[in-house]
């Protein structure tokens, strides 16, 4: 029965690492998209 704690630990490690990376990368994509959008808007204003 105590082996179930090893199983729970292993699955917690797997999903924690995957979720952490997923969220970190997703957050980075969002912030880069915002930065790109604002740079492109500024570029358009400068060209006008």
């Amino acid at each position: 029965m105590k082996n179930i704690w090893y199983l729970i630990s292993a699955y917690s490690v797997i999903w924690f690492l995957l979720a952490y990376y997923f969220i970190k990368i997703g957050g980075k994509v969002k912030s880069l998209e915002k930065r790109l959008a604002s740079l492109e808007d500024n570029e358009e204003l400068e060209n006008k």
Binding site: Y6, A10, Y11, L17, R35, E40
Partner: protein, 222 residues
């Protein structure tokens, strides 16, 4: 375009992950000797295979970069190495958790474990190399060289079970290593799901590289 594909894979994952958990926990029978802790196997093995595949993609893309000098290949190589390192980290953490109740120890210097640890260090080195080389062209060239040479360890890890004496279980053999058919099915389902996960993470990581490149082009113009 890449954003749209990324969203499709995100939706696929929402469907696929519960399916994988069902197969691992409910569909697959409990192993008679090891008991419930054996169920770590489905995601541990899937992580290992996907990690090897990721490093193979890095190897291929590194060759493509050296031949064509197109930075797209360098971006894919870097993204795949990073994601591969994540999966290899999962392998190195879940393996010892399984090993403790099974072998009585978290770690042994078994050939399979040792060569996998070496593989992890090689790709940590790849990531660190990219952080510390400032020049874009040099970074891509040195990384490509490491991506090609480092891949040599992947078949060594895979074949370590055949080349040396080891206590690590061997699934990849005739008859599926004595696995029950339902266990084999669950393993392949989990492998499919982890492949989808790899592609989803690779696309997201590629989006980061592509956006950074576009931002640096605009900033250089100023």
């Amino acid at each position: 375009m890449l954003s749209k594909v990324s969203r499709v894979f995100d939706i696929l994952l929402i469907i696929a992950v519960p399916i994988g958990l069902y197969f691992a926990f409910v569909y697959a029978p409990v192993e008679a000797r090891m008991g419930i802790v054996q169920k770590i196997f489905y995601f541990h093995v899937a992580s290992a295979w996907v990690g090897f595949f990721a490093f193979f993609i890095t190897f291929l893309m590194s060759i493509c970069f050296l031949v064509s000098r197109k930075f797209l290949f360098d971006d894919i190589a870097e993204a795949s190495a990073e994601v591969g390192l994540l999966f290899t980290t999962i392998v190195l953490l879940t393996g010892p958790i399984w090993a403790k109740p099974t072998w009585g120890a978290y770690w042994t210097w078994d050939p399979r474990l040792t060569t996998t640890l070496i593989l992890w260090f090689i790709y940590v080195g790849y990531i660190l190399l990219r952080q510390y080389v400032a020049d874009v062209n040099q970074r891509a060239k040195f990384s490509a060289a490491l991506g090609i040479i480092g891949f040599i360890d992947v078949p060594i890890v895979f074949l370590s079970i055949r080349l040396w004496r080891t206590i690590h279980p061997n699934v990849v053999q005739k008859g599926g290593g004595g696995l029950h058919p339902d266990m084999l099915t669950s393993l392949f389902v989990c492998l499919g799901i982890f492949t989808i996960l790899y592609i989803a993470l690779l696309i997201k990581r590629l989006l980061v590289s592509s956006l950074e490149r576009r931002i640096s082009i605009i900033e250089e113009k100023k």
